[in-house]
Symmetry: C2
Subunit: 223 residues, 2 copies
Amino acid sequence: MGRNAGHERVSDAMTRRLPAYYRHLCLLEKAGVAYISSRSLGEEMSLTDSQIRQDLSSFGGFGRQGRGYEVRALRESIGAILGLNRGHRMIIVGAGRLGSAIASFSGFPSVGFSIMALFDADERLVGTEFSGVPVLPASQLTTFLNENAVQIAVIAVPAKVAQQAVDLVCAGGVRGILNFAETDLRVPEGVLLQNVHLSDSLMALSFRMHELEILRGEKSDWT
Amino acid sequence: MGRNAGHERVSDAMTRRLPAYYRHLCLLEKAGVAYISSRSLGEEMSLTDSQIRQDLSSFGGFGRQGRGYEVRALRESIGAILGLNRGHRMIIVGAGRLGSAIASFSGFPSVGFSIMALFDADERLVGTEFSGVPVLPASQLTTFLNENAVQIAVIAVPAKVAQQAVDLVCAGGVRGILNFAETDLRVPEGVLLQNVHLSDSLMALSFRMHELEILRGEKSDWT
């Protein structure tokens, strides 16, 4: 929890809530909702009233007495805090099933990320494209990064070559790594790494199914 | 927060930490670590000492004075709490790029989930297999569920047919849904739904990159 320039690192829990706020506010805006109270927002998002007020006040007050938060302004502010208006350019290393699924995922462009290219060592994939994103040869990765300012790399290669891919993209100036490979990776100082653990979601689901049996009295304890 | 049989619903934050504990304890066990203190575990997982003791005591005390937690016993207990020893059977609806990537994902079997089959309406995919998991025709989904006790369905179809897929699998007795489709889904009472928002990870990464500039004083505020 280092301090710097009067700021403290934001907690992991808060960092997880911010994207959820953003998504929920996008839905409200789409539905034509102009204002929302912290109480209503809390009920819809399963958070307490005071949690919401505390979260939002930590970035400067967004509240309005009486009418609540202005949905569009709040969505734009949270988008700015998340850095979504900065036009991040990203590449995907690995054009296999997972990489190509990610390239085709409409959620990334909709939150302001532009996928420039996929890279793969498999010559059969080079020259194809997925949802308009071209597959380039892995051998061109360094040249591409030197010629294009790319901020984020998605790692979608097998675990055994993931560190090599990370070293290459970091040398090429990438500042953020979204890692889908099931392995621990090292990044240089100043580069941020976010691991995506798909099995965590499945474990959380399994837990909730187990918990439901206990809440219903079908099972008496956790063991 | 309903109460039942003396239990209260576990918080979302705790539900997210449990899989992280499980993963970390697996790594420690693999590395041959026999005992760990709450302090060391906390440092490795970026959690406080007291957070860890509080989390683990809420399921019954696992602690041992002096030597700390026994890694293997704690990993097994948390696995049991997560329901990982129950031999969940799952299917994947949608054998496109995402569905086939999930079928090939080694992390699911390693935490005790058995992927029985993929289902797809595309006849060109039927009869193929991914990592040994066969693709069956969507028309056989209901019959398959009637003949096999399947607890979990992964939804990996386009958003516009996702609700239809959910209705079918719920009618077939599935009790848990892991949803990758980018849409809100309704499930019947007693069925649990876990949405996977891939763009949340990317937004969290973007936020941390933005935050780093502020912590370093390269930028003075969040706007």
